[in-house]
Amino acid sequence: MGCAPFGLRRQPAAPLGLGAENREAPALSGDGRLLASLVERGGRTTVLLQDRRSGQVLPLRHLRGRQPHSSPSLSWTGRYLALLVQQGPHRLAVLEDRASGRLLPLQLPAGREPQRLSLAPDGRRLAVELLENGQRRVELFDLGGQLEPDLAPGLRQSGGGPGVAP
């Protein structure tokens, strides 16, 4: 890792292999250990999940064949990966739970195309940029009833939100 002004420490993301390759839409897990990004695989934009330090690629079970992927977003430990996938002519929001192996379709309001996602690190909320009649609008959705929280170590499971007073 190299040094830079302002006390920054800088490094390229862990390498993908030989040669120059596009890598886009980085998303860190809340704890900073995992990095999701978009790369080209077989001519299709595909999400890649890696351990940030070692570069080890972590398996994703359900996303093959649903490219192009876009807008990956990770929870605190990277247990949950939310992203947009292609299903026929539609862009759909889905969430892979790496702990249980489930893929959860995130059913958004009809008639509006999701453009970008942001998953709260604890997995309790999802922010979605939706496009309707040419207008972009961010809306917030509750995932609390659908997912176990993905909390930082030491935080209580109930009664305290994310454990940080805003």
Partner: protein, 166 residues
Amino acid sequence: MSTAPVRRLAGASTLLGLGLLLGGCLGSALRPLPGINQRLGQLGSSQAPALSGGWLALIAGNQGRAQVQLLNLERGLPVPLPGLNRPDSQPVSVAVDQQGERLVVVRQREGRTELVLHRRSLMASQTLPIEPAGVPRGVSLSADGRLLAVEVSRGGIWQVDLLELP
């Protein structure tokens, strides 16, 4: 005749198909958070959401008048960001840490695209150098605000830089 019911039916069919393909694990419709969504609607056009802790950062307003906004989700209110938004700049993307203290913004100003770290308690922004030179676009912050992933275009190739922030 309105096409809305047809669109709704098509969307429902797509989700049903995806659910069946995924082994019957069809998710239920996401529950919108009406209070905060009403507030978001008052911002007009909005895009590029970033959730962390009890905070939602986004870019709101029309082209040419867009600004970074930071909403306290517990109170449902935007908080002031003195020293961040400038009349001569156009934000492109934003990320926030879980304390709502650090925001990282990519913005266009005076014909250049710059990467900026804003500390809310100091009401101060500093430009983060891109080295080697490149054009930043997307950003992601770890929850503690110490690790930044930034998407940078260099020579026609998109790369991901990781920066440890002081």
